[in-house]
Symmetry: C2
Subunit: 208 residues, 2 copies
């Protein structure tokens, strides 16, 4: 595979395309055009075609894209052609909600373990997911070949927790704590910052 520079925004759109294709498949669609794929997404058809062009040619000129093939292609591109196992650290309200969240499975992601430092929680289960202590993390990650983790601890615990995750073998983190993480450059971190998202909405409301 030839390595080329892929825009960050392209990467973020790939899962959006995939989910829409899964919906179109459920509706019985066999062949779709770039126009149909992007219709409800506020994205131009050419944007989709350009995004795909970073990875190859997957359509038929004059026809469109085979839904099943394109789903498989996108799953492969994103790296979710096999089930990806993920852990959650911090089993508060938000962490529990994520463990029970149904939106991951259609994207071939699965939360398979949870960690917390609260002795009252360790050993208990949420929907078949065992809550483990922090020092059980390295072994669990190794045994299950897990590289991706979600942080759901309070903001003042997030940095320490993140460092522990890195030491335990995590390579990519989705951080729900409202703070930026300082980790080595080879780590991948995405942020879900709910207050900031609301803040930017409020700004637009007042100014645009």
């Amino acid at each position: 595979m030839k390595k080329r520079y892929i825009p960050e925004d392209t990467i973020k759109r790939l899962p959006v395309y995939l989910r829409n294709l899964l919906n179109l498949k459920k509706e019985g669609k066999k062949i779709v055009s770039s126009k149909e794929i992007t219709f409800s997404l506020n994205i131009l058809p050419v944007q989709f075609r350009k995004d795909l062009s970073y990875f190859g040619k997957f359509g038929k000129r004059g026809v469109g894209y085979d839904v099943d093939n394109l789903i498989k292609t996108l799953e492969k591109i994103i790296g979710i052609d096999r089930k990806i196992k993920v852990i959650v650290v911090g089993v508060g309200r938000l962490g529990s909600a994520l463990i029970r969240y149904k939106g991951f499975s259609s994207m071939n992601m699965e939360i398979v373990g949870a960690f917390d430092n609260d002795q009252n929680k360790i050993g208990k289960k949420i929907e078949k997911i065992k809550i483990m202590s922090m020092d059980q993390m390295p072994e669990f990650l190794k045994k299950n070949k897990i590289k991706v983790g979600i942080i759901c601890v309070p903001f003042d615990k997030a940095q320490k927790v993140a460092e522990h995750m890195v030491k335990s073998g995590i390579k990519a983190i989705l951080n729900f704590a409202p703070t930026r993480l300082n980790l080595s450059k080879n780590m991948f971190v995405n942020y879900v910052d709910m207050a900031s998202e609301l803040g930017s909405l409020i700004f637009k409301l007042k100014n645009l």
Copy 2:
């Protein structure tokens, strides 16, 4: 076409700066440089200064920024110099977690109402927040002058719920449901798409 004076990414960074300044204030800092402000944020100092420059001059050359003043300035710019009231629609696990989330108040945001169509939930309370029926929404929004709402319903209900919110007076939506919303162009919508965030992390893990 849609020439925007302020870049979208600048808008998204403003709340991040503000929160960091609130932390620096808590640590006792009175004066800070752009370098200190951006140190833990993976943002270059000049990016911060450029972002601020869209709104005016707030620093002192050779010195830096007065923390208290800059906090007030950013709160005013973002539009949260007064408490902003927000509603949640959909009181499942995620909606409940958001209602109890402590990260909004330091940013002057407050969830003051919750809506659901489940008769078993309507009338109950979560942390002093009354759960109301969907048809109580217009009156509640008008009485409390609310323009911002959060969607936490299943993906197949989100479009209808969003349309109801718009009809009831909502102007800006933070959507946690994994689907894009089709609303009129004068509506503001931000998306929190957890599976897509994980997906883009997995992509980077495999490819970068």
